[in-house]
């Protein structure tokens, strides 16, 4: 469609308006746009960068200590290795968190609980796996009760190896997640 379909304008003006673009989309099309078009503009343009800047700088994680790495998670949120510097504070309810930290072994009994916690979290959400047990079962890889392939159940963005990793490695993992969000390379494609 063009402007002249709605308002009678001279042809020269019409042709001029056809050339204007906004955020890479022709203005004439944006004029008669749908929600889909607005969505596309936000996806492509600098507005998304602002959204991602906001999301990466205020990551709330779910307070859920599971294994040995859970103790290091407490220390990570507290004084010496302060994660509040990066805007990252622990919350108790999954509805208000962005990141699910898998800090330990997932067993058969716990898997459905964990999955329902993950599904209660609102989008956009990310997942970080800490420690060997969360990545591949760790030293308990051949146990009858441990889930070895956590990456098949949750879309994990950052794997932090170690048994257990130091809290500085947690911070490095957090910064890597922030980089991923900024460059829109995360698994869910936000």
């Amino acid at each position: 469609m063009g402007i002249s379909d709605v308002i009678p304008v001279p042809v020269a003006v019409d042709e001029e308006i056809e050339k204007w673009t906004i955020f890479g989309q022709p203005v004439a099309e944006v004029w008669f746009t749908t929600t889909q078009k607005i969505h596309e503009i936000i996806e492509m343009g600098p507005i998304k960068n602002i959204f991602n800047w906001g999301r990466k700088n205020s990551i709330y994680f779910l307070m859920q200590p599971m294994g040995c790495c859970g103790v290091e998670m407490f220390v990570f949120g507290a004084a010496p290795y302060d994660s509040d510097r990066f805007g990252c504070i622990p919350r108790n309810t999954p509805r208000q968190t962005d990141v699910m930290i898998i800090s330990g072994y997932i067993t058969r009994k716990y898997l459905p609980v964990f999955k329902s916690l993950w599904e209660q979290m609102p989008e956009p959400k990310w997942c970080v796996a800490i420690g060997e047990c969360a990545i591949s079962g760790g030293p308990f890889y051949d146990s009858y009760n441990i889930i070895q392939n956590t990456a098949d159940y949750f879309p994990i963005d950052v794997f932090i190896p170690g048994c257990p990793p130091r809290p500085e490695q947690f911070l490095e993992g957090l910064i890597n997640l922030q980089e991923k969000i900024k460059q829109r390379k995360d698994k869910r494609g936000y």
């Binding site: 859920q64 103790v71 290091e72 072994y105 716990y110 609980v113 308990f140 889930i147 098949d152």
Partner: protein, 570 residues
Amino acid sequence: MTTASEVLSSLQSTFPGAVLESRVESDRRLWATIDSAKLLDVCKYLRDKLNFDHYSGAGGLDWIARKEMEVVEIMASHGSHQVVAMLKVKTPRDNPSVPSLAGLFWNANWYEREAWEMFGINFEGHPEPYPLLLGEDLVGVWPWRKDFKGYPDLTTGQRAVERINPQGYMQYYIPPTPAEIEAGTVPKERPKYPSLREREERDIKSDSEMIMHMGPQHAMVPGPFLLDVLVEGERVKKAYLDLGYIHKGIEKIMENRTWLQGITYTDRMCYVASLSNNECYCGAVEKILGLEVPERAQYIRVILEELSRIQSHLIGTGEFLTLIAGVGYAPWQYMIIDRESIISLIESVTGARLTHTFVRFGGVRNDLPEGFAEKCRPVMDYMRSRINEFIALFEQDPIYHLRMDNVGSITPETGKRMGASGPVLRATGVAYDMRKEDPILLYPDLDFKVITGTKGDCHDRIDVRLREILESIHIIEQCLDRIPAGPIKTEAKIPKKIPAGEAYYRVEDPRGEMGMYVVSDGGDKPYRVKVRGPFYATFQTLPPLLEGVYIADVVAIAGSMDGCPSEADR
């Protein structure tokens, strides 16, 4: 003071023919095989006449070559004497059945449930034979038997199937491994712990009651467990407890790793105080081998274990303070900052912050670095002044007393009957400390007190832990003064295949009495390792304690037990 041989002769004279085999290992250890028909009478006699009032644990064993199963009952005493009696009961493998001691000893309940679900041993007369650690799809396969086909299982997660269970919740059903299906050992009928809807229908009597979840995802203790409370308004009427959410099967895995590799697994049981776990395992193997640990290694072990105790108490107390004060509470962060200095001391020796794997059979892995004593002493002085500050801070805080006094009180008799140990029992006034009851390493030569409380409520438990830190500082300073030069490992060569034998070794974990029963059959892998964890016993005391309290107190009581569900679940 009774000794093991006196106990044995008393048993043999009172019950002729009940004791089938016996072995007196030392003044404090008695091994006896009891006829299963007379087990109840023997245990009653031991409890009433010979003061064996502490039922320490029970474990099952599968002697597949001899076609029989064995249950080992560990009995001890709360301070009347120091004898530990290990009573074994044999039963045929086809239809294993042993009389249940749950009527005599209140805390035998969970040990027998676990032995049933792992081995299939039927305990006659047990009040609630529900599974404890295993989920629904594993009950009935008896995982710890030697012919369990589902281990090693490298594809557990890949076989999971999503389905909606009858109550309407999404569930992952993991079908048996192909090897199990081929062997034909998959049972059809599976009993299970009653689900939420079943409990609601059974127990809710009026419209103003509801069942509220306070787990498995919670911030009370570092590890998931299910705690549901039936509340009316703000008062709790009944509490339900279920474990198994981080059951890794360590005891089964250790049977398939060599002796040296097993030390890494003991770390991951109670990860907050992993050096005590290492010590327990290595001590048991040293007993089987009959090794002597050189003196310098003993000093290093004691110093590091006391340092580990200090940092475990600090994080346990600090974590508890956030439960009653919110995350913004400042002294919990001070405790974490102080704990960092202790952790860097331990790290300079062992190389790791949390899971150390430092103790070896017959010694330790490294020597202390240069200048360790010069770094350690200022830290100890600083810690002493800080802990005194913390004790004074909590004493003068009126809201602390409002929240903690007379909350979750345990009388000494109840504590002993429920099988608690560690700071939980010492806060009630019973002076029961493994370092005095069953002294290992250097503890007979060191001078320290056993700290007790008076009332057994939350306030006393925290107080006992803080003052125990002061005692540990005193012990470390004594050791640093007297540590000799010398070898850190025994000169004898440790064989790859440990000769056949068995041993039971007890240490004082920061959470209580920890014991390991290790059986070797002459191979290069353990035949059976049974862990008697402290928090397993203390955990059992939680549901009766929580009746009639407010919801806010539930969190205070559960947190003040300072537990590690990973050690209960193994």
